[in-house]
Amino acid sequence: MIDEQKVMISYSRDSDGHNKRVISFANFLRDSGYNCWLDQLFKQQETSIDFNEMMLKELPNAIKVIVILTPNYKHRAENFIGGVGKEFRIINDEILKYPTKYILVSFSPLATIPIDSILPNGLNGREILDLSLDANDCYKNLFSKLSDKPLYIFSPVSEQKIEPMAEKIVPFSIAKKKNADKDSIFSTIQEYLIENKQLLTQYGPNSLVALNNPISNSVDTWKQLKQSTIIPNNTKIIMLLESNLALLGKKEKEIFYKFKIHAQAFALNQEERNDKEAVPQFPAEFETLIFKED
């Protein structure tokens, strides 16, 4: 569907080649569905056209005006020469009022010419569309400006603002963390020791059943529990402390090694009895160490 509202081209007649290039550009826009007009087209509509009247009438009524900038256009605009001079007066009047109406373009690559050489005073700082670059992108920018359709879809601004959560930094203290780790490890070990002690009390050599009936078959239960629970618990304790030795002080390490020797000898003693001197008893100081925080 042809847009009835006109797209006007404002340009300077620099040369025959430039003029034909502008006409070719106008045809390209018309082929692209834009109702593009320029003086040459009006000239063909009437045998004796009044260009002053045409400009005063058509530019203000156009939906879009493409201004093709060249050094000559700048010269004629700034000096209000000819049709360009008249058009530039209108452009200057309207460009502030209609921020999406005027499209400043250049056929020449902007990288090869100083912008000041083509941009008339009064339009300083305004965007110039480099058509040589836009051609590489299928004139997306040009059509976006002509159609008032955005190139990119931007999200609406949400009513809910996301704000970063302030991270609370704990006060600097290596020693405190060390103690926290140690407390946690000791707490775990406490559970193993408590379980072992319960089994010892219930089924061990000094249990009620062992004292009241020294030939009780409960000794078999004791032997099984040693293998299934007590020795594995001791192994876990050893592994736990050996992987966290740095948390222990010198004296604590000494106590731990006493426990380790006891635990290893205790396990070996299940395979074959050793002299009691070779199987040190559970060091009571280890229990004191592990439970001292309570």
Partner: protein, 133 residues
């Protein structure tokens, strides 16, 4: 008088020992020679002098120490099934005609002419050394 119950049996264990011995088929009578040291008279068999202890493990050093104190002892019992002895102590005492047992073994040994030679076997005929573990 202080008694180290890690060496000598608790009173309840002694009561248990005396009760079980009294009811043993091979035993005619028994008498207590000293605390923890008994002479057991058997049916058609020699009497046995037995020292009753409560050592968790009877090692060679323990055997040597106690046999020095009780040179006429034929058997040393470490009364609880939870207790035991080292192979070294067992073999050395056997050479000297002395048996080291846990209580349940001793009840079987009383049926043997020479208790120190007593060995219990499992169902497959393998010797069981209850006190070794």
């Amino acid at each position: 008088m202080y008694v180290d119950y890690n060496v000598y049996p608790r009173p309840e264990s002694i009561d248990f020992f005396e009760k079980v011995i009294s009811n043993h088929d091979s035993v005619i009578s028994w008498n207590e020679i000293n605390d923890y040291y008994y002479c057991i008279h058997r049916v058609n068999k020699s009497s046995v002098n037995v020292l009753v202890l409560n050592l968790y493990t009877v090692g060679l050093a323990d055997y040597v120490e106690f046999i020095d104190q009780y040179p006429n002892a034929d058997s040393i019992i470490t009364i609880s099934n939870w207790n035991g002895y080292t192979i070294q102590a067992k073999e050395e005492s056997r050479k000297n005609g002395v048996g080291i047992f846990v209580m349940s073994e001793f009840l079987g040994a009383l049926n043997w002419d020479e208790p120190y030679k007593y060995v219990r076997y499992d169902s497959d005929g393998n010797p069981l050394h209850l006190g070794h573990r």
